[in-house]
């Protein structure tokens, strides 16, 4: 097992965003994390990547307790994530954004980092990476998020809604990209609203609602679970 959380809880004042979540991510799988808006998916991502620390519970990564390990060290251990609302570094070119994570997460020299960053840009098919960021399309910004995460040489890659804002054709290309990453032995968590993407990509799905896991299993099974349908559509009148 690559990642395991134990009764993971995060509250913001009175609001409990994540409530006693026991999440397991197996080596090599693509895990889908779904749930209605406000279910706590992004908070869970932030807890795993170390953006903030949990109120209660533990996080284990490769059998090490990383509950209070700072974010930059988690990036170096191989936990990488993308941001739902893209957070590129605006003063850099696209290419330099990728250099940053190669430099600091991999600990490479400037020369090595440039070489690695070039390879990663080719891998995600980010053309003309020397462009300034205001020249990039939404699709390219999403690919840049993935490229920067790949700069961390991740063992676990968390993709927080990388499909949002993409058209059909771009989504197909993104799916191909994610599949190609799995072949590189990267374990992937996909947080997604687009169900067709979840059904095409994932081996297993975890459903969150109001901070709690309400169902898990293969997509076909979970999609027909009455609890899941209720969470998404509400009670039948």
């Amino acid at each position: 097992m690559l990642l395991r959380t134990e009764k993971l809880t995060k509250s913001f004042g009175g609001l409990i965003a994540v409530k006693s979540v026991d999440l397991k991510v197996n080596q090599g799988e693509i895990l889908g994390i779904i749930g209605p808006n406000g279910a706590g998916k992004t908070t869970l991502t932030n807890l795993i990547s170390g953006v903030f620390y949990p109120t209660e519970g533990r996080i284990h990564f490769e059998d090490k307790d990383i509950t209070f390990v700072p974010a930059h060290l988690r990036a170096r251990m191989g936990i990488a994530r993308t941001f739902q609302l893209v957070r590129p570094l605006r003063d850099f070119t696209a290419f330099e954004n990728v250099v940053v994570s190669c430099l600091f997460a991999r600990g490479e020299s400037l020369r090595e980092a440039r070489k690695s960053a070039r390879k990663i840009c080719e891998l995600v098919e980010l053309d003309q990476p020397e462009r300034r960021l205001d020249r990039l399309t939404v699709f390219e910004l999403k690919k840049l998020e993935i490229a920067r995460a790949l700069g961390c040489q991740p063992k676990l890659l968390i993709l927080d809604e990388v499909m949002a804002g993409l058209n059909f054709e771009e989504m197909q290309r993104m799916i191909q990209l994610v599949k190609s990453l799995r072949e590189k032995q990267i374990t992937i968590c996909v947080i997604e609203h687009v169900m067709s993407v979840i059904s095409q990509l994932t081996d297993r799905v975890v459903v969150l609602d109001r901070g709690e896991i309400i169902a898990e299993g293969p997509y076909e099974k979970v999609a027909h679970d009455p609890k899941v349908i209720t969470a998404y559509l509400g009670e039948e009148a």
Partner: protein
């Protein structure tokens, strides 16, 4: 070719005292003092942290150096290193706490630190001479203004070199990333606190060394004038007018504003600061990226 040109300019700077008069040398010495402060302020700003503490560390260095010479009979030249080291140590201890703050909270706290340093200087009378300050028997190099010029020039060139190293190594990637987005930076493996502390300590050491230079040049320290807000406001103005986030911007700003203020002082001894303020306001209104930043943007837009 480029490096050849830079080398020639450096050599010319060193040879300048043989061609121009004492007055201009004095003015240039003062400009380079402020240039070094402006660059050190900008280096911290590149991490996104606005520090108002530079007058404080300047004064700290000034006092450390005068006390080192007066009470510990250290050579004035070495006292500059002592001052840099002392400022660095204090910055390390305080930065450990202060660098957990951000934005205006960081700025105000660093401003308060300057005042606290001054209060210490005024009240530790046995060590600092209290509100009367401390006067040395003679200036560094017995007051030889050409040697002082060379010393200040060497320090200024060192500061420029450090600033350029910031721009050409992995440090640039770290501090720009921190300025742009701390969350994205730390998720990319950047140790934010380490880099902030490193830059804070290094720039404080520069400010301490420059304070020592200034104090040794005039051979005295006194609370009000040594911790004067001028050593904060003038360097900040220079960096803003010249253009922040670069080495060349603060250099241009220091030369332009330095020469302008000297000229204004001659033609209107009372009230030259009003014109000075006007230049600052107009630049911020019409050239928000400063002189150098505007030129760079124009060139980039034409491509």
């Amino acid at each position: 070719m480029k490096y050849f040109m830079i080398a020639i300019v450096c050599v010319l700077c060193f040879l300048l005292p043989f061609f121009v008069g004492a007055y201009l040398i004095h003015v240039l010495t003062s400009i380079m003092i402020f240039l070094s402060l402006a660059l050190s302020w900008d280096m911290m700003l590149r991490t996104g942290q606005l520090s108002f503490g530079i007058a404080g560390f300047f004064g700290l260095g000034a006092y450390a150096s005068i006390i080192a010479v007066d009470d510990f009979s250290i050579d004035p030249l070495w006292s500059i290193l002592v001052a840099a080291g002392f400022a660095a140590l204090i910055a390390l201890a305080l930065g450990w706490i202060v660098l957990r703050l951000r934005e205006i909270y960081f700025a105000i706290t660093t401003l308060a630190l300057s005042s606290v340093f001054m209060i210490f200087a005024r009240n530790l009378s046995d060590l600092t001479g209290g509100s009367a300050g401390k006067v040395l028997y003679e200036s560094i190099f017995k007051g030889d203004s050409i040697k002082i010029y060379w010393l200040v020039l060497s320090v200024a060139l060192t500061v420029i070199l450090v600033s350029e190293l910031f721009q050409r190594t992995r440090i640039r990637f770290a501090i720009n990333a921190i300025r742009d987005d701390e969350i994205a930076a730390k998720c990319s493996g950047v140790n934010i606190f380490k880099y902030l502390l490193f830059v804070f300590v290094l720039t404080s050491a520069i400010q301490g060394a420059v304070g020592a230079l200034y104090a040794q040049q005039y051979a005295f320290v006194e609370p009000e004038s040594t911790f004067s807000a001028n050593f904060l406001l003038l360097p900040m103005s220079m960096a803003l007018v010249g253009g922040i986030y670069s080495s060349l911007g603060p250099i241009i700003g220091a030369v332009v504003l330095g020469l302008a203020s000297e000229y204004l002082k001659l033609i209107m001894p009372y009230g030259h600061l009003i014109i000075y303020g006007l230049i600052l306001v107009l630049t911020i209104m019409f050239l928000p990226r400063g002189i150098y930043g505007t030129v760079v943007n124009r060139i980039a837009a034409k491509r």
